[in-house]
Structure formats: structure tokens, C-alpha cells
Amino acid sequence: MSRKPVAADASAPTLATRFKRPSAISTVGLVLVALLLFWLGVNLVKAPSVFFTVFLIGFTTGCVYALVALGYTLVYGILELINFAHGDVFMLGGMFTITFGTQLFGLKQGQGIVTVPIVFATLLLSMLACGLLNAGIELIAYRPLRNAPRLAPLITAIGVSFIIEDVGLAWKGPNYITAPSVFPQSQIFNFYGVAYEWNKLIVVAITVPVLLALLYLVQRTRQGKAMRATAQDKEAAAIMGINVNRTISFTFLIAGALAGAAGLLYSLYVTTVRFDQGFQLGLIAFTAAVFGGIGNLPGAVLGAVLIGCIQAFNEGLSWHAPGSDWTEAIVFSILIMILVFRPEGLLGERTPEGG
């Protein structure tokens, strides 16, 4: 669901500007990318097994981020609103998972094959709960502000985010809550020191079908067509008989469901959830969405995997890695640099806001 192309805008690249000499700002950007690649290359040569192990960790984290990032990008694509509350919905998804899984279905470690249907049922319930929550947020907090200045819903989104965070706090308390470690952690293969465990594969195995289902929904169904039309031009979509409000609600429902799925994966993979994690992870996922080009579904996935890898490399590599203390600073630096150097993201189109 890409943003509408800007036809006659000064910032859109024309033939004359496209082949211009690289400007100072893009040179700086290229130098930074080159430095990053050099650093990765040195690490690869020095300790290849560590490099690939860390890459696999990053890829797994990236899959979880992808689900959250897609939620941001779906909502941004249709409303041009950064839904700050999305990260907190994701966090509540983790809490729903733990509550439904352990209290409703009695999920615990070492149940054998029974775990599969339980996790599946928990996934569905968690997706449903988060989807309804997200749609409810849209109904209460964003819909009355459709015609307000653009900053109004953005500010409201921050408020909603804080409220949901405190709902989590009131519900589960200020400490980490733990999920049963149900994904087996035995190794699938160990190739010259590059280990790959089952729990990582399971995360990927749950993410990919969800992503494919989403792509099918957006690209091949009537509802998806309505979503794309609404994203392009709401008035024209309304004239064509699309119920714009219902389409927007549906988009929020889908985005919330993705956050619910991500919450399940995160809570069962990392096995701890705390009320204030959602906002930080949400911002990282938002960075991923911007990285790939906001409003662009494949871009969000690509950006999420890249961000996941960058985070893992930062925390895991041995040669001059800044370490986990700096993860957030690095991710936000990337966000700022993308917005400065390439605001349309890796796969996005150039828009007036970004240009």
C-alpha cells in the first residue's frame, strides 16, 4: 500500500536532477554506510561464526519487529498518523498471551505436542483482543479528530500510549512478568559454531504465514482494495462507494492483530514482558517502518529485519561494538539519518513531507 505518487511536486526527482553530482549531504551518508560495512566486514573476517550466529538472532528479532512495523505502516499509509499507541498495544499483546495462555489454557513448559494447539489458540485470541483494542482506540481517540489540524491526533496518540502503558502497569504491576518457555531451545544445527535453535525457527515460521496472509489481504481481496483506495484518496474512495470509516477501522483492527501476534512471539521468545517495554520497542519498529519507506509493506519488513540485525550486531559483535547500552541511541541515530538523507526510505516513494 504505497502512498500516492506526487505528480507535479518540486521535490520529486526529475530527469535533470536525478543525474546531478552527488551533494555534500549524500556524500556524508555514503561515507557513513561505507564505514558501517567496513565495521561489519572486519567483524565477519575476525569471527565468522559469531557473526552468523548474531545475524540469525537479529533476523529473528527482525521478524517480531516486522509485525509491529507493519502495524505502523498500515496506519500511517491510511491516515498519515504515527500511532504512538501501537507499541503499547503490542506490549498488551504480550500480556494477553501470558494471561490467556497460562490461565485460560494452562500453558506451561514441557507439555509436548499439546503446546501447538494451545499456542495457536492463544495466538488467535491475542490477535483478536489487540485488534479490537486498536480499533477501539481509533474509534474513541482518533476518529473525532479527523478534521482537526494534523498535530492534534498525533498528540492524542501520545496520550493514548501513556494511558495504555498505565493500564498494563495497573494490570500486571511494575515488574517483569514471565511467560513459560514453551518454544524448545534445542539446536537444529550447529555448523562450525553457528548455532540455530528451534525457538528462532518457530518465530520465523509463525511470522511468515502471517505476513503472507496480510499481503494476500491487502493485494487480493475487496477489503484490501478498499484499504489501498482509501490510502490513496479518501474522497475519491468515498465517491466510489467505499465506506471510509469502516475501512479505517478495519485497518486498525488488522494492525492491532499484527501487534497481538508480535506480542505473542515476543513474550514466548524473550519470555519476559514489562509494562514500559512497548513504547521503546514500538519506536524501534517505527524506525524500521521509516527505514523501509513508510506506507510500504515490503519496505517495513525489510527495514525491520535490517534494524533487528543492526541491533543484534551492536549487542553481539566483538570488535568495537558499542554494546546494548547504546542500542536505542544507535537506532534513533539511524532514524534521524534516514529522515535527513533519504526521507522516502529504502523502498518508498518521495513525498512532500519527507522531501
Binding site: L283, D325, F332, G354
Partner: protein, 524 residues
Amino acid sequence: MTEHQEEIAATDDDGAIHDNVGIRNELRARWQALAFKERIAIVVGLELVLAALLFFIDHSLGFAVVTVAALYWINRLPPLPWKLAGQALLVAVFLVAGPRSLAVVLAVAFATFWIPKQYRVWAGPAVAIVLAVLYPFYQSKMFTVPVFGVWPDVATGVYMIVFVMMAVGLNIVVGYAGLLDLGYVAFYATGAYTAAWFASLQFAHVTWHFGAVGIDPKLPGIHVTIWLLLLLAGVITALFGIIIGLPTLRLRGDYLAIVTLGFGEIIYDVARNSDNFIGTGFNLTNGPNGITPLDSIGFGNSLSHWTGGLLPANYLSCCNAKYLGHQIQSTDLFFWTAIVLLLITVFCSLRLQYSRLGRAWIAIREDETAAAAMGIPLMRTKTWAYASGAFFGGVAGAYYAVFKSATFPGDFYFNISVFILCMVILGGMGNITGVIVGGAFLAYLNEEGLANTGAWINANIHIGSHHPNLDVPLYASGIYGLIILIVMLFRPEGLIPSRRVAAEMHEGVHDEPLYDIAHAGSDG
């Protein structure tokens, strides 16, 4: 336009059609059909019932409701002689029966409102300033407010003023120029750390003194007088604002918001992790332990001696004087200094508002494209907004760090940015009075109010012997979120709005409004 206003508009235009549609309109129609006296009787009756109910929860709350209702009705009486008589009666009642301090407060408030309108523009703020300056003298004698408890102490007053300064600074960026800044805490942090670097033992390998008071002249570290540091912190923070602004201000609206948010988080990370600055081993911020203690503030011995002790040599080791039955303490001095700083901030902000620059900001806020077409240099104007907002944030941050004699990275978390933004939104974007009131109220809530309210709830609201035992301050950020949500939904222009912002909020100046299918066509 929100749904509610839409409905009012609809009934105004063709009332007959819409009158009986919906329970809300029907109720309104019935209410309007009542006679004036009946309406008053109903309202007074409801107020009395409410007061009676609350009386059983907490006696003083019941009295408070009656008092507020009485104030409201007295205010609606014809001025002479009834209003005056009512006010005199109310003051007399409290003089005899209730807390005497409340009687005095009411008398002062009534007297202020009797000042003719053309002088009130000056007299109102003047009375407010005098009351604020005298606050340390009468704070301990004030009555207890139901739910909120005792009046804030003077240290809380300093905290409130510092945060009001920051809110006024943020108002320049958000309220005047319409640039949503979610990383204002970065400026607060920059100011605080500037003060901490140049007035503490942090850089112990250097020994450099410049007018610092109250310390051994051979003490290692950089020690610059705080007065200069306040200015320096402002300037450095303004430069920092420009550095942040230059690459990012090209972006519009929400992108700018997210970038400033990112900068705020980066600054927090830098503050937290820079006891080993980027792996060089250089201790820049002393990490999570923060920098403490900071040098004291003061005018120095010679200046103090020269003014006959009027200006204290050192705020922390001052004060054996006793005026009006009040022992002057160092906190009082910090409080008065803060008031002076706030007055400077407000003065600058007011002067900026209708200056050439201020009008350019408003033009950019309302329509960036049109402003650019009228020849306003966008980048330079926005950067100035950023720099001015940052300047006051830096001064406030430096002053607060000196007051606390410490800076910790935990003070500069994202919550604080939203907290300051909440002050601006609650009070009314673009309106100085609103921002001051909103900022003072929220800062009070954060420092004392929420704890007091929580204690009140836990003590008075119970079912049988079951007390809720709520830890209200724990949910502070959620409460601010709720305030933001409620204000944005029901009164987006804030409690004390600027007329211009209110018009923008209701008409919508956004060049590409988010489309609303339900109300399409009814605006036209």
C-alpha cells in the same frame, strides 16, 4: 469540528428539524423550555444534593462545593449592591467561622475583580506577582484544600516555576511556530549538564575558578559563577537547538516530532552511558550516578557587603533574618530568583509573540506553503523558534540543577517531554497565561498533588473497611495521558485558549485535512 459542535450548528440553523432527534437534543430542548427561576432552582438543588453526598465522604469537600457554588452565583448577581454584599457576606462568614486565610484570599480576589477593566490588564498580573513573591511568608498559614491537601511548600514552588519556564519555552516552539517537539527534555538536559560541568568537581583534572561562591578557592574542577552559567547554559542549549534543528526542520509535522523524540532519547542515552564516553574512558556525565554536588548560587561577599546584606553572599549559608514572623531560608531565595527568571522568560515570550519573528511563526503554523510564498524564510524562522525555545529550556534546566545541586540521567526521560507538552496543551497552546496556569498546576500535581490526592482517596473512599490503597503517583504518566486525551477531544485549544489557536483547531488549517465521511458536506 467535533460531533458536538456540529450538532449545535445544526440545531441553530434549522432547529425544528433536528430538535427531536437524539436524546441529547431532546433534553436540551426541555431544559430550554423551563422558566429561568425553575432552572436556577434545579441547579442549586443539584448542587446542594452533591454537596450533601460529598459531605458524607469528606466534610470539608462538601463545604468546598457549597463555597464554589456560592462564588458562582454571587458572580452572576447584579454588581451593585448585591454582588458586593454577597462577597462581603462570604468573606465575613469565613472570617467568623471558617479558615481565616480563606477569607483573606477571597477578599484579595474580590478586590482584584473590582478593579476597572482597563486597569485589570496590568493590575491582575501585578497582584499575582506580589502574591507569588510573598508566598513564603503566608504559605504555612494557608487553609487546607479538600482532596489536594495543604498548599505546596516553597521547594515545590521552585519546581513549579522551573517547569512553567520550560512550558513557556516549549510554547514558543509548539504554540507559536506549531512545530511539535517531543524531545524538549534534551534542552532541559543540556542546560542541566552545562551547569553541572562548569560548577562542580566533575572535571577534577582542571582547576579554574571564576566568581564561584561558598567553596574553597583551591578546590579542583571548573567553578564558574552560576549567574554567568545560567546565561551560558541558555546560549549553549540554543546552539544545540540550532544543531538539532538545521538537519531536521526541513521535515514537516509528524516527521519532525519523531526526530525530536529520537534526539531526546539519544541525549538520555548519552547522559546515562557517558561515564565512559564512546569507549574513550573519558568521564563526561558520570553515568547513572549523575553529577553532584553543584556549587551554590550567590552574589559574593563584596557585593553582599556593598548592598548591606540585601543581596546574600551565598544562598546556602545565608539567612538569619526574620521578616513578618517568617525565618528566611535558602529555599525562599531560590524561589524569588526563580520568579525573576520566570518574569524575564515571560517578558521575552510576550515581546516575541507579536514581533516580526512571532508573526512569521504564526504564519508558518497556520500554513507553511502560504508563509513561504509570502517571503518568510522557513528554515531561518523555524530555527529561531527552536533556538528561542531551547534557550529558556536550557536556563530552566541549569537553574533547576543548581537548586537540586545534582543532575541525574533519570530526570531526562521521555516522560518529561510529554509532561511539559501536556502543560502547554492543558493550558492552551500559544497563550502565555494558559501555559503558566497549566504548567503550574501540572507541576504541582507531579510534585505534591498526586501524592496528596492519593492519600485523600485512600483515607476517605472506602467500602466498609476495604480501602483501595492506590499508589496514585505511580500512575502519573497515565494521568497526564488522560489529560492530553480529554483536552484534545473536548477542548483542543486548551483551558485558557488563544483566540487564534481556537479558531484553527475548530476550522482546521491543515492543508490536507484528514477526511471525515460522516460530516462530509455539512461544513460547506
